[in-house]
């Protein structure tokens, strides 16, 4: 961990208005530093996912300020935000969202090709390298819908890593996995922070998982009660 702020939430408030107004996030203020492995825990329905969608710039309908790499995300166009997601943020969902029309390798490569910073060959090598790191290189040319759940989650981690993002956000990445696979995923995260100083923000409702992270942010009823 270093002292550079990677992500900063400043008094974030979120209300849903359908059909009655519900105040889901209340004055959420916290920072994540470079190389930190932070977990967010809390009961189901306390607003963890909602917060993560805001932090990942996919949800722009909120009050307060969000800084990524020191830059305010307010008043940006949809295209600019897409670029931020592409370049700076890796995302791992609870349900392994892969494009079933593509191979594992293509899935990992797509965000890299979209970024367009490196030629296709280089992106391919990078993707194979990441798959190798996660121990699933042999699956590279399989169709994405022909692999197991644990393997899919590892593929989405590889995809999140392809552009060397400044932060990876995960929404209950082990929520849908058995013990063995959960352990594998956790070990991968641990390696990423310890060896590669990758910043991680992981939402989970598994206290055991959270206990092993650098820092725990605990939420209740839309508020941060402990960090």
């Amino acid at each position: 961990m270093n002292n550079i702020v990677t992500l900063q939430a400043d008094k974030i408030n979120k209300r849903f208005h359908d059909p009655v107004t519900v105040h889901v996030l209340k004055d959420i203020t916290f920072s994540v530093y470079g190389g930190e492995f932070v977990s967010v825990i809390g009961k189901s329905g306390c607003g963890k996912s909602t917060l993560l969608y805001i932090l990942s710039t996919m949800d722009t309908d909120f009050e307060g300020d969000l800084f990524i790499g020191g830059e305010n995300m307010r008043n940006r166009t949809e295209q600019q935000l897409a670029h931020v997601r592409n370049e700076k943020i890796g995302f791992v969902f609870q349900f392994h969202y892969l494009l079933s029309e593509f191979t594992v390798l293509d899935n990992v490569m797509l965000p890299g090709l979209k970024l367009g910073k490196f030629p296709e060959e280089h992106v391919r090598e990078q993707a194979l390298h990441k798959l190798d790191q996660l121990g699933i290189k042999k699956l590279a040319h399989k169709q994405a819908n022909q692999i197991s759940g644990g393997e899919k989650q590892r593929v989405s981690i590889a995809r999140a890593l392809i552009n060397d993002p400044s932060i990876i956000m995960c929404d209950e990445p082990t929520g849908n996995l058995d013990k063995v696979n959960s352990q594998i995923v956790f070990d991968i995260f641990k390696t990423l922070t310890q060896e590669f100083h990758q910043t991680l923000l992981v939402v989970t409702h598994d206290p055991e998982f959270a206990d092993k992270t650098d820092r725990i942010i605990e939420m209740e009823d839309g508020r941060i009660i402990k960090q």
Binding site: M58, Q79, A82, Y97, S100, E101, F102, L110, P111, K114
Partner: protein
């Protein structure tokens, strides 16, 4: 930017659902095929029907109308200038059908670059004598070579040889209906009486069939010199000069110009045959309307299938957006899909349309009225293929517009949360 990436994603999405894609493409193919075949066939028929008349009509015809002189003596008198003339029942006198100075006119026309062909002609009213009955008819004195070249005369001579009238003296080609009335066959001799009661025997060397029965019942053809002989006129006697011009749209103005220059009357093809143009126009309009309706129906097919595809691909769209693809990228991906369907379906449609046209072209079509036609006529104008392909692209673009817009507006949060 990212063009290759967008195409390769579009391709993967397309092939993942190739059955649907095929159905959409087949819709386009079918409509383009029908469009090409329908227009080719309709235009072929149009050309045929127009050709029946227009091929045999001069673009400009010079002749002398029998009518009272426009400059009556009284109007030449300066004394009565501005007065109202009460002279009634003016008659046409000195009915001169002949074109004066025809030799010089022909010379002048030959030098005119806008003129592509000239054929002189004499029309003579005659009676054909069959036993005790007289049948009225017309003998046209023609230059058979010029007439064949400009008006496809020999196409319509169904038996005998058209050039015989130029070779065999005192010979005639009879219209089919006229020959039947006269019970005349090739080699027979028919009797012709002119208005001035001169009687001539003419040898039948051919029968022609124009496709217009009324015409074939009264018309016959002989050489210019034969008709001059029948009428007892000198060898510069001509009643009509038929002119073909390079640009048919110029015909009316050239007609007016020649009428003034040569002091004759002139009739242009547009004035003489305006009803045929109206007919062809309406027929083309109907064909285009049907063809374009087919394309619009195909457009709705594409619209449906794209909508369905986008509905199924919501997850994929959400992932693409979550990993950094913008709404515009998604829009482009689905537009490429839509246009590929249009392009692929369209190209196949052009091919099948051409094959269908070839097939129609092989179907036998024999009718007594059209001796030169043996199969259904088809027009292979590249314009139909151009319009067909343009329309297939435009229709798919329009059909893809709304679904594509919908795809680009997909909110990834809603999809990811909803799982």
């Amino acid at each position: 930017m990212n063009v290759r990436l967008i195409f390769s994603i579009a391709r993967s999405l397309l092939f993942a659902r190739w059955r649907q894609t095929l159905v959409a493409a087949v819709g386009v193919t079918f409509s383009i095929t029908m469009f090409i075949a329908l227009l080719g066939f309709m235009t072929g028929l149009n050309d045929l029907l127009d050709g029946l008349v227009l091929n045999r009509t001069a673009h400009v015809r010079l002749y002398n109308e029998i009518k009272p002189n426009e400059a009556q003596p009284i109007s030449l008198s300066s004394t009565y200038k501005g007065s109202y003339h009460f002279v009634h029942s003016i008659k046409s006198v000195g009915s001169r059908q002949r074109i004066y100075n025809s030799g010089a006119i022909l010379q002048a026309l030959k030098k005119d670059e806008r003129v592509t062909g000239i054929a002189p002609k004499i029309s003579a009213q005659v009676f054909f004598n069959e036993g005790s009955i007289d049948i009225t008819g017309v003998v046209n004195g023609i230059d058979v070579y010029a007439e064949s070249q400009l008006f496809y005369f020999n196409d319509y001579v169904t038996s005998g040889n058209s050039t015989d009238i130029a070779i065999v003296s005192n010979s005639i080609i009879l219209g089919k209906g006229l020959a039947e009335k006269l019970l005349a066959n090739i080699g027979d001799v028919v009797q012709v009486t002119t208005i001035s009661q001169e009687r001539f025997p003419l040898k039948v060397v051919g029968i022609f069939q124009s496709g217009i029965q009324e015409f074939d019942k009264v018309q016959s053809y002989a050489s210019v010199s034969t008709v001059q002989k029948i009428l007892g006129e000198p060898n510069n006697y001509i009643t009509d000069i038929q002119i073909k011009v390079a640009d048919i749209d110029q015909a009316p103005s050239m007609g007016r110009e020649f009428a003034k220059l040569f002091n004759t009357d002139a009739e242009d093809i547009q004035t003489a045959n305006s009803q045929f143009e109206t007919g062809s126009f309406v027929r083309s309009l109907i064909s285009y309307a049907v063809g374009i309706t087919l394309l619009i129906v195909a457009g709705f097919g594409i619209y449906n299938i794209l909508n369905m595809m986008i509905y199924e691909k919501m997850d994929s769209i959400a992932i693409l957006k979550a990993t950094g693809f913008s709404g515009l990228d998604v829009n482009r991906i689905f537009m490429v899909i839509a246009l590929s369907i249009g392009l692929f379906g369209g190209v196949l449609g052009l091919l099948f349309g051409f094959l269908t046209s070839l097939a129609i072209d092989q179907i036998p079509f024999n009718t007594l009225a059209l001796p030169t036609i043996t199969t259904y006529p088809v027009n292979y104008s590249p314009a139909f293929y151009f319009i067909g392909s343009t329309f297939s692209i435009v229709t798919t673009y329009l059909a893809g517009w709304a679904p594509t817009r919908k795809a680009s507006k997909v909110d990834p949060v809603v999809i990811i949360r909803g799982k």
